[in-house]
Amino acid sequence: MITIENSLITVIALSTPLIIAVLGETISEKSGVINLSAEGTIMICALFAFVFGYLTDIAVVGLIAGMILGAIIAAFLSLCDIKLRMDQIAVGFVLTILCSRLSSYLGQGYVRISGPTLNKISIPLLSDIPFFGNILFNHSLITYISILLIPSTWLLLNKTTFGLSLRASGENPNAANSRGINVQKIRFIGTLIGGSLLGLSGAAFSLYAKYGWSEGHTTNYGWIVLAIVIFGGWNPFRAAMGAYAFGLLQVLAIKAQSITLALSQILPLLPFPLMIFILIFIQYINRKDSSSVPLIIKSLIGGNQPESLGKKLPKEF
């Protein structure tokens, strides 16, 4: 019992940065902007958050620093998109490479030193609930934020006028423009929110989930985030499930080390082929003629890519 409980606590803790990043990227992509700089943004924000936390010795300062840097990178990407009409994919890739390399260079002096970390905060009363209390209500600030962000993102996208305008801009900027929506502004804000969450995710790595800094500290997480967004069908709840599933497999890998070495080496690899298979499966489900698939499964895992995701805005506006 204790091991299951502990494992689940670890899963939630480890998944924290992933959840935040996946939600951020979902918001950005819903507005039509694919932020391909995720890998680089998370990495350099992890470094910045750690450095600021280290210098001030206050972890929260690090979180805020990470968010701000993430927003700045996203703002750059967004301006390239909406003002200069450059290709989002190209700019995103270049930013990823630039930010990753820059983090190795700038982070040389900070490798493997100890800095501040986020403490666990037990929520009174709720954390006393047996089993669940410990799993859900005995975490750090950033984990609570990540959990709260899941419904908040859904509410933002589906229940607010801003969210609707954001989705409209990602679906058909032309139509949105003709309805009087300022598509450029909406896309800018959407990308900015998305980028600041990517930054926060980086901070969550270096200040909590994978405490400290080393070269290539968050390697590959950005790409995983991009895959989980697709896996989640651009739906915050499904995307979060994907992130937790990923976290679960990682924790299983750690646990497996005590059983056999081979298993512990295979398990960390498992998410990647699994993700490819699931994406193929989703593609299959999404095809209209697969009428043999029950509707419930379809609506649960089938998601829709925003129609003009990654496309340049029309010239007229």
């Binding site: 589906n158 229940k159 607010t160 006028t161 801003f162 609707l164 305008s165 989705r167 409209a168 679906e171 058909n172 032309n174 139509a175 949105a176 423009n177 003709s178 309805r179 009087g180 929506i181 300022n182 003629d289 829709n304 925003p306 129609e307 007229e316």
Partner: protein
Amino acid sequence: MKIELKNISKSFGSLEANKEISISIPGGIHALLGENGAGKSTLVKIISGQLNPDKGSILISDKKINLGSPKIAINNGIGMLNQNPLDFANLSVLESFLVGNTQNSFISNHRKTKEKILNLFDNYDIKIDLNEKISSFSIGQRQQIELLRLLYNGVKIIILDEPTSAFSLEQKKMIFDTLNKLTKEDITIIFVSHKLDEVFEICDSGTILKEGKVVYSMNKPFDSDAIFAKMFDDTRTKNKITNIEKRSDKFKLFFDELDMTKHKTFSNESLLDFGTIVGIAGLQGSMNDRLVKNFFSRDFSKSGIFFDNGDYIEKNKLYYMPADRLERGLFEDLTLKEHFALTYSHINKYINWNDIAIYGEKKIQEYDIKANITQKVDQLSGGNQQRLMLSLLPESPGVLLLEQPTRGLDYNSANKMWDIILHRKKNDIAIIFSSTDLDEIWDYSDIIISVSGNTIMNIDSKQNLNKENIARYVSGIID
């Protein structure tokens, strides 16, 4: 609501789409006529704020309004129904109504909004689930939803950009009744069309554009001869089918049981001559387009075209032209030259641009495409895009599968289109086309397939039919 346009000019590069256009509309329904490429689309885009003119002003009730912003146009009560629905495929109908339309920052009062929208839908006899995604509706239904959305938003000036091509006969009548009602509520309607009968039926006044200029202004009662003369230089008479060069080979059409859920009056054994034109008649949203596509893709049915000896006609001899020009037929960001290169140079490894330029120029002449070879496809008018699409089909013998070959084209462009199609007829094994225009079906088909909804109602050769029969079949009435 009075609307006045003053000296509107707009150029795209060297192309002058609008030249010093001045129109004054006191109210009622005003027709904006002109051939494809006359500058109608540009002008209505300027009025609706989607384009900023180079010069000129617009006055509503004698008050000058700001231009170049859809938001301002909406605030001034100008709404536009585009030729193709300008909506959001992945949003629900309700959400589509709400986009850009909610004052609160939270989407609230769903029930009240829903009720209001449903009432409106009820008034027009349309049954639609508001939670359904837009992508699940046909183009015609999407246009209806868009029009109702404009009414819901309380517009005072409605621009209809060739809207009826997407409506069925009954729906059209309903829309026209609505439009007439609306004019009594001081709503001005700008009706962009090339169907003169529709214009005569409902419009109070009109303007004819030609090459970007106003060439004629008119008021009720209309002088149809003068209008005709102003719109078209060469009033060609429609080609009638003459002298089919017959060959000995024959082919047959086979229809899958699934496609033929009601009637099988056409014998599967009947052999058709080479050069036969098969017209598939159906209302907008019926399966007529899908039937054409099925002959090509054979995705969901076994329907197909066979040679006499029972062999399928090879796929590389089936030439398919989709109805949706920009979505599925052409690449809007590629130039004409690049389009020609795609069809022309697949034999060679390297592209010889000089050869292609010569080949392309020849094609442009031959198919009467009014464009420069270096222009991008999205700058072309609908008729030119349509002819370009046809010019790209290989000229070797095969089966032409044409989905609504004259969709959205004016009289003259449509005639030109059919000139070209008939020109190919003697070489081709067969021409199969779908249309919602019964006149077109009647004029050009040898075999007529009438479709209602998802059912083939009747298949027969033309001499056994008359127009009224077909009209009844496509509306789903059988004897």
